[in-house]
Symmetry: D2
Subunit: 423 residues, 4 copies
Amino acid sequence: MTIQTAVLIETLTALGSEVRWCSCNIFSTQDHAAAAIARDSAAVFAWKGETLEEYWWCTEKALDWGPGGGPDLIVDDGGDATLLIHEGVKAEEEYERSGKLPNPNETENAEFRIVLSIIKEGLLIDPKRYTRMKDRLVGVSEETTTGVKRLYQMQANGTLLFPAINVNDSVTKSKFDNLYGCRHSLPDGLMRATDVMIAGKIAVICGYGDVGKGCAAALKAAGARVIVTEIDPICALQALMEGIPVLTLEDMVAEADIFVTTTGNKDIIMVSHMKQMKNNAIVCNIGHFDNEIDMLGLETYPGIKRITIKPQTDRWIFPETNRGIIVLAEGRLMNLGCATGHPSFVMSCSFTNQVIAQLELWKERGSGKYEKKVYVLPKHLDEMVASLHLGKLGAKLTKLTPDQAAYISVPVEGPYKPPHYRY
Amino acid sequence: MTIQTAVLIETLTALGSEVRWCSCNIFSTQDHAAAAIARDSAAVFAWKGETLEEYWWCTEKALDWGPGGGPDLIVDDGGDATLLIHEGVKAEEEYERSGKLPNPNETENAEFRIVLSIIKEGLLIDPKRYTRMKDRLVGVSEETTTGVKRLYQMQANGTLLFPAINVNDSVTKSKFDNLYGCRHSLPDGLMRATDVMIAGKIAVICGYGDVGKGCAAALKAAGARVIVTEIDPICALQALMEGIPVLTLEDMVAEADIFVTTTGNKDIIMVSHMKQMKNNAIVCNIGHFDNEIDMLGLETYPGIKRITIKPQTDRWIFPETNRGIIVLAEGRLMNLGCATGHPSFVMSCSFTNQVIAQLELWKERGSGKYEKKVYVLPKHLDEMVASLHLGKLGAKLTKLTPDQAAYISVPVEGPYKPPHYRY
Amino acid sequence: MTIQTAVLIETLTALGSEVRWCSCNIFSTQDHAAAAIARDSAAVFAWKGETLEEYWWCTEKALDWGPGGGPDLIVDDGGDATLLIHEGVKAEEEYERSGKLPNPNETENAEFRIVLSIIKEGLLIDPKRYTRMKDRLVGVSEETTTGVKRLYQMQANGTLLFPAINVNDSVTKSKFDNLYGCRHSLPDGLMRATDVMIAGKIAVICGYGDVGKGCAAALKAAGARVIVTEIDPICALQALMEGIPVLTLEDMVAEADIFVTTTGNKDIIMVSHMKQMKNNAIVCNIGHFDNEIDMLGLETYPGIKRITIKPQTDRWIFPETNRGIIVLAEGRLMNLGCATGHPSFVMSCSFTNQVIAQLELWKERGSGKYEKKVYVLPKHLDEMVASLHLGKLGAKLTKLTPDQAAYISVPVEGPYKPPHYRY
Amino acid sequence: MTIQTAVLIETLTALGSEVRWCSCNIFSTQDHAAAAIARDSAAVFAWKGETLEEYWWCTEKALDWGPGGGPDLIVDDGGDATLLIHEGVKAEEEYERSGKLPNPNETENAEFRIVLSIIKEGLLIDPKRYTRMKDRLVGVSEETTTGVKRLYQMQANGTLLFPAINVNDSVTKSKFDNLYGCRHSLPDGLMRATDVMIAGKIAVICGYGDVGKGCAAALKAAGARVIVTEIDPICALQALMEGIPVLTLEDMVAEADIFVTTTGNKDIIMVSHMKQMKNNAIVCNIGHFDNEIDMLGLETYPGIKRITIKPQTDRWIFPETNRGIIVLAEGRLMNLGCATGHPSFVMSCSFTNQVIAQLELWKERGSGKYEKKVYVLPKHLDEMVASLHLGKLGAKLTKLTPDQAAYISVPVEGPYKPPHYRY
């Protein structure tokens, strides 16, 4: 719920929709933006610094349109709203079948326990709430790598309950927001949180996907010495071609000054790593959830001491060594927690994709064009998103002649590339 | 026919094949490499500085295994061998049907006239030669953007005569050879051909695909001021995000010092552009064929004067202005004509893909796995190509735990990415 | 008065000095740092957001040690304390000679009017105050280009009242703080003040000295298209060698998105320029005083409207066009006003020079080594500053053999370069 | 004796001088350039691939104007002509004093032995030749770091025989030719000599002065991972600020792929280092003489085998390990030996300085302005050199107003910077 999402909400409202909104991250809300939207445009359930309980309460409230109502469309970011509905429907079906309520104590995951509690409480009041919601829903458009991964898993399992448009894999999203957005917001977050000089420092970037590429480019350009960790040999070879060594975290853990996770996976930097780090090493995550960093391991480490330098900037001191490490945004997305997220220009690319996807879902709501599957936007819409952003930067495109278009077998007006093209 | 292809030939020979070889470019043969292979490993029909007639004579000879013989597999680069066979079969079928011989004068394209002449002469001697050849052929693997485009066109038209593996669109080809190869070989060719200082110069790169990205990165890093021309709004926006203006050729034609075509299209720099250029502007092509630059227009310009500074470096002087422009490699690929093509490490990635494709085609020759269509290599083979190249550069990969692999729904051993992933 | 200066104060205190402190910039004080120092270490006269009157009141108070006291040494940054003393002495001498008091209304410069008022008021109370102060003073060490320029002017005019060490021209200051400091703090200030995406934007940097070089490098690395303006042909040629066009402000004023002054001169961006700029163009100064930007012209422009977006970020709307420009830090140093100045590592280099200079002045206070002139630190001390900072970054130096040292005619332990060496 | 020096010779001839010329490097002559000059403009004693005996024979011949003649001015590059005259005069004075001839066997330095032999032979024919030469000489202008170092040593010892202008330390020389010239010519030489892919490789640059900075920037930009070795803590800290680790050669010797010496010192890479290197490691020198690399140690290593891949590219195989290293240009300047030296634009800056220095020496030949000391050109001439090169690159300078000029205390027309300014 940043300034940029506020403009997205205003856009959706101007297009005729009635909007309810929650945040996708407990730290990312800019309260002034939320307040302005709450006053003028939409129901907002978000503030900077929510607890996890509050976070899921907000998510539930954003979906709650009162009796007879409900969302027609979801704009999702990370997939938590989609998750809640899917888990809700699952629980309601189980309850109808067996009378069994969800048991929050069955899971070890602290956050998922909250989800189950919320569903359980809701079930006692209204045992068909999420079922009615999914019946009404026309679809969801989702913009993150992580949220999309969940959607494809549900598609593969046959459990996806409504059509989904994968906005993340529009070129104008994944190759812009993930890459250029993070190239901007990683140093922004580091500087605001710590004022550390990046030049001369050794930085380990875990993961060299689009996010990792943006992060590595930013820190290298700022004069850091960058090392990458990777599981994928192709991405690893890309790093090497840019002069960036590919090593393991273990190789660098005692030597580096800055650690950044960008993987979209879990258990990347464990407490066992953190205790080997240099004094005042900075540890942060710009990947997906806070489980990229072993926050639980850190919090429960015997004798550990936490000093909050300022909100979102904590120094954790290990008792054996008296060395402290600096963890940003409690392990959550540091560009949202410590800075203001991605800048407007790149978010405009992402959100133009979101709006186009919403319009498409709504336009085709009765046509049967979209089944309960995951779709990407067609290439000509992707190219349109780019086109809409060229003028602001003073660009002038070259026009194909019909003869040239025929020669390379594309329409004069595009789309210009085959589907497998990688940009 | 460079040193790198020599090693490819030796590899194929060591794997048990009998090889006949020709070049894909009239200027690209390194005569010492050709001589060594001719002595030790294979029949070679290639030398530096062929005429177009000699070029196609070589192509025909490379396919000529004598009575009863013929190639089982083709390793193609640009698609000329594949083209010759397809045109040959078409002509033989027409001849059988109607007794009509191909008429070279029907085409305005000087090079295609030569192709038709060769086919016509062959037809008079043996009217079933190309038909028998295609019957025997197990398949082709093709490594260039341009050759692949032709294959997809033939697939779409239903005229493809045998299975084809598109090696160009392996990530370890298009995102390495095209990008990093050209980043190396464009400045290499410029420096060898002209000794010009790149720093401070204004360079126009026509096209910002993989090749254009590599070229722009190289010249920018060398201190040039780079401007890009593009038809595709997405690629244009990528250039802008790197601080590179996107303008039209007309905007810059009178101002720039260096012009590079990378488009894979034709008619990019016309003689009408060239006469507006500054004295001693450098014009070169690293895209595909020499029709990216209007060589015909230049050669037939009334009163034009050509001074060959040295082989592959010509100064063309316009009579009205007495200004000359410097054209490299007669408009053909300047990295092959003026330097030695791409360096071994990146060619090893490309050729490992070629070898794997050839092995795959041969292994599956009777299985029916491959129809008369175009295929890309499966991702695990693409990742294998990358893996084979990591050790040389001292890289160490991180291993997924089974738990992490499950979390992101991939096998521990890969492949790690969905098919649509763009790297 | 930032965190870094707080550590400098603590260092000086630990070395035995008694410190009184004021800020060099009305916006640069970090109040928490000032508070901590005021509590623990020194008398501090500084807060964020002073008026000019308050600023000079603070400067005067910092110099006021009560009857019989006074500073032995000055650590100066911009030269305002030195200026005040020199102007004070001049007025006292004039007063003694002619009984004439300084007349604040004689100057058009609003700030200098305040200086004269303060001196005038002081003179009425104690007509020998600054004279006694200069008699006591052992010397000053000054760290900015601007402050140093004043010192050399006074040396040339024969009006310098005490020895001065030019710390700015230590290599470990001007080639580090000015260059790498600004490379860090320009984007930091831009991002904190405006959240603007730098990638894709057109940025004009006025001046390509050390500060301009750092600024240009930062914005280029972040994906902006950078243009430089210069008066000096050598610096201009340096920009060109890095691929940066050199044009005039007039050429770019209507096209650029971001304007940064780095010149150390005045009247760089005038109100006549500002009214031609695009809507929401950003204008800021990281050079020296706020007179690089014509703030007076802006403030007094008929019908202009000022909207304070947030402190230090103002939008000024021209009545004719209704276009607004965004001016940072009221035209003062934006890295201090909108961010936190330079990061600790590079300030440590600068302040190590300051401390060494202070120690040197004090040690030689009676020796006559330093006359009323401007001195730079000897090269071995400059090298020592660098040496002290290598360990933190994990560097290992190579040692000369005596034979090698003799071969290049330097001592094994350094200094290694002739005085004219430029680094 | 490259194309660029040919233009310098033509310039000097056009200005009225009579020129005799030799090369400064046994490999750097471009024979076609030498032939053209020999035909049209000057006596040339230079060819590509001289022996050391031939080299010094050429140097002697270039100074030999026949009876009654001799050079009035020397344009020197490396200082060998200056050295020969100084050693000649020393020997003649000793001979006059004691009748003792120089003894070539007294020195262990193979090259200096040749110098002494030549002097000895000359002495027997004409015992006053060099004495007359120095009496006639108006002065020398010298353009290399190494040659200048010798001049300052002679100035310090009081043995300098005629005035010298240090052209190397013009900003438009040392900060352009050394830096941007090498940024161009190092990769050029590497690519022409070895065709090696630079991306992904580990490169050790010994020395981070102007030459080392250019080399490091070039290899980093090409995708190599660069490590620097340094003796000077200030230059080391500069490397670190650019993200380049500073280690010792010993740390990296077994790991790196490319080694480049840029130090201006001797004994940098010894045979003991070379035998530890990886197979096919590339070793080259772009610093000064071939003694940066221990060529003698290599050549005399027991059992070593040398295979000349092509001229200037040798593979040296160690018997114990059977690993070979590739040494470029026999340890001499690889950009001259393996490529064509620096490109014209940057050489034009250097040679404009040379020409201005020659004009200045000649104009002031009777005025007593220049004593037997080393001088740098005054800053306004340095700025003039830059100005003359701006138009070609389309730059437009900003003009100071008189008011601005007064504010920063410089003339409107320059010079703009104090002498100690570092650029």
